[in-house]
Symmetry: C2
Subunit: 221 residues, 2 copies
């Protein structure tokens, strides 16, 4: 069976978990305390990061390359369309969330408030938290603008771009950092993706010391 | 003709320029002062970043998605192999350089010493420069380890991973921040890739206020 080394609230690990579940690939989940940089783990991935996926006798690292591998070897259901322009739009938005949103929002809210405590690497920087709370509004508005023109973020079909975004939003929702009332179209989009069977496992996550809010696992949030 | 909005020393723009040149796609280069966030530019890419490529009546953003688009629409010469495991290894290493190396080295050396001056956003932080100078040694050693087993970084053929790495190294070499004597295998690799016709345009770059060192454009550096 495939084995995924992961951390529960990591948006990059969550993206891979969503893709694995959507494609109905069974996987053993192993929590990895990557910040302790244990030698066995560094042998699996010299970058010292999660996710790491063992599958098909290979050890794969980096979340988007892992998802591209799964798409190429298990194409059903398709999460990246087949035309070049559509493929680019999906990948552009995956970068938007994993690079820009990650830097401006996730790292400033989730990492300051949760990761620093778990990895015992300091206290939340309140100016970072404030910047993250401000930036998420701009991103919600951009997503609302996309969803005014499309059923899903990258077009009329659900794609890896939606899973990338949902992975970040679900991790932020775990600590109640999303104002779902700001943009109704984004709330509806999240309700749709959250109700997929692939999401169940993620909604059952429990991080010691950080109980999720009531609405986190509620499909009618 | 295709048009690339770029900044000369940006490793992400250089990666796209190398891929365009290797695939013999003619392109107009337009320098973009992205930090001034001009409205026309934000309309082209709401992320406010370079590179942006106009091609085939599309406006493409994000360097790796742009390169994947070029590979899919202009497959000759191939820069990503055809087997799924080989494709993953190329993409993993592209992430290594564009994410890990960028964060630990490029942003700490190039951005502190050059970008801050060009964009008038402050003075170099000497502790960042020191951390970058230390981290590049570890990366050179990792590349040496890869090149002990392979002719190119991701295998026995030259791929996008080599262009991604060479884009970062060429930008750092412009400010003499690479110790080419540390790992002979990396020096030989860089000499090989630097002598390709695709590299010529990059070796002719001139950034006002930052004249390149003598060895920068020298193929026998």
């Amino acid at each position: 069976m495939a084995r995924l080394y992961h951390v529960p609230l990591s948006p990059f690990c969550r993206k891979v978990r969503l893709v694995l579940a959507e494609k109905k690939i069974e996987v053993d989940l192993v929590e990895e305390r990557y910040w302790e940089r244990e030698m066995d783990f560094l042998r699996r991935n010299p970058a010292g990061k999660v996710p790491v996926l063992k599958i098909d006798d290979l050890t794969l690292a980096e979340s988007t390359p892992i998802c591209e591998y799964l798409e190429e070897t298990r194409p059903e259901p398709r999460l990246i369309p087949q035309d070049a322009a559509g493929r680019h739009e999906v990948r552009r938005l995956v970068c938007w969330f994993d690079d820009k949103f990650h830097q401006e929002v996730t790292s400033k809210l989730l990492y300051e408030r949760v990761n620093k405590k778990i990895t015992k690497s300091g206290y939340p920087d309140s100016s970072a938290v404030k910047a993250g709370s401000k930036a998420i509004k701009y991103h919600l508005d951009y997503m609302g603008w996309l969803l005014d023109q499309r059923r899903w973020l990258a077009g009329d079909a659900m794609t890896l771009a939606d899973f990338s975004a949902a992975a970040h939003f679900s991790a932020l929702d775990y600590i109640s950092d999303v104002d779902w009332n700001r943009v109704p179209a984004v709330r509806d989009w999240y309700a749709k993706i959250k109700s997929r069977p692939a999401f169940r496992n993620i909604l059952a996550d429990q991080v010691p010391g950080f109980p999720p809010p009531q609405h986190y696992a509620d499909l009618d949030f």
